[in-house]
């Protein structure tokens, strides 16, 4: 039997040191990084607004408004066509639920639609990459679901359902569970923003631990298949989350969080402090650096006080987040990576987030202090130009915070 001509080809991200991170792992990693940025942002929010109810209501309102304005009738109609949702299918809870289910699976929120009827929809999740953020975000997602249901309502104005996230993994529950029940059928009241974590009218079905899944359909099966059998590939979903994951979990709440500060300067000051703290803590444990070296395939020739550790790490972050970038210098003195602010901040071009530059600069500048050594810094040059440079180098600054 002749030998095969070559190895089979699979997609992956190659690190600076030639280690291949498979597509599925890169996708999962990128999701968690978006979630981590969101978690840092929510710490900013908690400093700016100490009252849980007030801040939760604020992000709910903005997420609802943004979701409503982002989803025109034309957008929804194209969604129906894309998913081949049959014309007999009554709008209302059905379609709102399909909308939500697809987004869950794209973002590796692994779970299942337990019930899918005209009167009641129950969705259960076993995992959620955003489970580190906090229940304000869980509440906020119910506001986004409310927008989905409103957009899909029969009368095109207001939805017909009571919506409850009665379990949330971010709150310590075994599952996340969202139940939509038709208000007229179950005699339920219309809800306010903070009423969406109550108990549904009808009993839920709880999947036992042994039948829970660890990954969403895209990682398990390579495709997501909806109720009507239409499918999306991992490649498609990866691209989708690399754009829209930032929009709903960072861009939407950011609008409200900025308004919680007394001024832009106050917001920026607290924002940088929080991201700096997160950066310093990321590699405080020495074994974290060892784990990273192994993951990126860093050779032993690169010693512990070499800025290329940080540079290689940043390059992999950019690649796994699908951000176009070019390595223009990578030696023992300096790492210089060229990116474009347009794509670095505008992951979803319609909703650029300038705070990505501010946040990652604060995060990485402080991260390098513990990952490598305090001799090293990370800073961005050309923030207002077409090309921006992310630099890892040695710098002395007597006021270094």
């Amino acid at each position: 039997m002749p030998l095969k001509d070559k190895l089979d080809m699979y997609k992956g991200v190659e690190t600076v040191w030639g280690k291949i991170i498979p597509e599925k792992e890169a996708y999962k990693y990128a999701l968690r990084q978006i979630s981590s940025f969101c978690a840092n942002l929510f710490q900013v929010m908690r400093i700016l607004e100490p009252d849980y109810e007030k801040r939760t209501e604020a992000i709910c309102e903005i997420a609802y408004d943004m979701n409503m304005s982002a989803s025109s009738e034309e957008y929804l109609n194209s969604y129906y066509d894309e998913w081949n949702i049959p014309e007999f299918c009554e709008r209302s809870s059905w379609l709102g639920a399909i909308f939500g289910d697809s987004g869950d699976e794209y973002e590796n929120m692994a779970g299942r639609v337990i019930q899918f009827t005209r009167d009641r929809v129950e969705k259960e999740l076993d995992t959620c990459p955003w489970d580190i953020v906090g229940s304000e975000l869980c509440n906020m997602t119910t506001a986004m679901f409310t927008a989905n249901f409103d957009l899909c309502s029969v009368n095109n104005t207001e939805n017909e359902v009571s919506l409850n996230m009665c379990e949330a993994r971010g709150c310590g529950d075994m599952h996340c569970r969202v139940v939509a029940e038709r208000r007229d059928v179950f005699n339920l009241p219309k809800q306010g923003w903070l009423d969406h974590m109550g108990t549904p009218a009808r009993e839920c079905h709880v999947t036992p631990r042994e039948r829970m899944v660890k990954e969403g359909q895209l990682l398990r099966n390579g495709v997501y298949s909806n109720a009507f059998g239409e499918e999306k590939t991992l490649e498609w979903a990866y691209r989708w989350v690399a754009e829209k994951g930032w929009v709903w979990s960072v861009s939407f709440p950011l609008v409200a969080i900025r308004d919680m500060a007394s001024s832009d300067e106050e917001f920026e000051r607290i924002f940088k402090i929080v991201f700096s703290t997160a950066g310093k803590n990321a590699f405080i444990d020495p074994f974290a650096v060892e784990g990273m070296r192994s993951w990126l395939g860093v050779p032993r020739e690169i010693d512990d006080n070499d800025g290329r550790l940080m540079g290689g790490y940043i390059k992999t972050q950019l690649d796994t987040q699908l951000v176009p970038n070019e390595l223009v210098r990578f030696d023992a003195d300096e790492v210089r990576i060229k990116v474009q602010p347009e794509s670095f901040n505008g992951r979803f071009p319609m909703a650029p987030i300038d705070e990505l530059t501010t946040g990652f600069e604060a995060l990485w500048h402080n991260m390098v202090k513990t990952m490598v050594s305090p001799e090293w810094s990370c800073w961005f040059e050309g923030k207002d130009d077409d090309d921006m440079f992310i630099i890892v180098g040695k710098k002395i600054d007597k006021k270094m915070i």
Binding site: D81, N84, P86, E87, F88, R112, V113, I114, Q115, F116, T117, R118, D119, E124, H205, T207, E210, R211, M212, V213, K214, E215, Q217, R220, N221, G222, V223, S225, F228, G229, E230, E231
Partner: protein, 331 residues
């Protein structure tokens, strides 16, 4: 997702198996007219549509140029040069027709919003239709459509359905839908007919037990891989014929089979969950549902037929749920 202990679903399922269940269901409906209508449909579909007399219908698949199923439909010969196509995907079908029309004298349009349909299914469904409609249906054959009248409203009664039981479909103008519904409700009371409200009961639980697949289950397979050999008329030309002939001659690697799950429930199994034989990936799931007559979790899978003959023990998904490959019919 349906569970064994769902009493509402079980009651609706059993109504169809033992008496009468009815539901409002309008497939997308495409109307085709013109001198070349029969010839055009004969080219689009694998079955011999042109041989269907007026008032008769045929089940058929539609193939792409690679010989793979892209739709499955019922085509009904309504009148002279006049057909209805019952599909779940009218916009896609029309786009495909546009590609294949090729100067033929034929027109087609999506009439889904103009026509409504009620399905009346079950061993006593004939009695309900006879009590409702002016024209008796005792002599009707399967896949036959007649004109009739219900409470003074013109309807078409089609002997067909998707449950595997004797059943009828009542087509009416959308504007008459409420009146027809009331008539069914009123006539159904005396016969204890049950309205089905749980989609998965009449789209999945009932049909899967009888081996009836949705387009999504067949999509991408050849008719030979889906045991639909009987529907392919090789004596005529049709889109995808050349490719499907190759599949027929070379034999197919995959086959749509039945799968039975041993576990009480199937929460960890999605529509594309991987199927493993002796730990090796041999295919994927297409459907999973509880069958209330079979009283087990059942479904369809596409597997490498040479590796997993009927009776093979397999596992499904990352939790390695035990299952068995079986013939695609349970009841």
């Amino acid at each position: 997702m349906l569970f064994k202990n769902d009493q509402a679903a079980r009651a609706q399922h059993n109504a169809v198996r033992t008496n009468i269940g009815w539901y409002k269901w309008t497939h997308d409906l495409v109307e085709v007219k013109g001198k070349d209508a029969a010839g055009f449909l004969d080219y689009l579909y694998v079955n011999a549509i042109a041989k269907a007399g007026i008032g008769r219908s045929k089940y058929t698949t539609m193939l792409n140029d690679a010989g793979q199923i892209i739709d499955d439909v019922i085509v009904t010969h309504i009148g002279e040069d006049y057909y209805w196509i019952s599909t779940l995907y009218a916009p896609q079908l029309i786009a495909w027709m546009d590609q294949k029309k090729d100067g033929r004298d034929v027109t087609y349009q999506d009439i889904t919003s103009e026509v409504d349909m009620y399905a009346v299914q079950g061993p006593n469904s004939r009695a309900l239709i006879n009590s409702l409609a002016a024209a008796p249906v005792d002599g009707m054959k399967r896949f036959m459509m007649i004109d009739s009248v219900i409470d003074g409203i013109a309807v078409k009664v089609h002997k067909s359905g998707f449950t595997g039981e004797e059943g009828y479909e009542i087509y009416c103008a959308m504007s008459d839908s409420g009146s027809i519904r009331n008539a069914i409700v009123n006539a159904g009371k005396a016969l204890n007919a049950v309205e089905l409200t749980i989609l998965e009961v009449y789209v999945r639980s009932l049909p899967v037990e009888k081996g009836f697949a949705l387009r999504q289950d067949l999509y991408g397979l050849s008719p030979y891989e889906a045991d639909l050999d009987w529907s392919v008329d090789l004596s005529k030309n049709f889109a995808g014929k050349e490719a499907v002939l190759r599949v027929k001659e070379e034999g197919s690697q995959y086959k749509l089979v039945g799968i039975e799950y041993e576990a009480e429930s199937y929460e960890d199994i999605a529509q594309r969950e991987r199927v493993y034989y002796q730990g090796v990936d041999v295919g994927f799931v297409r459907a999973a549902i509880y069958g209330y007559t079979a009283d087990k979790n059942i479904g369809f899978a596409v597997v490498e037929s040479s590796k997993v003959p009927i009776g093979s023990k397999v596992t499904v998904g990352e939790n390695r749920s035990p299952a068995k490959i079986v013939n695609r019919i349970w009841v």
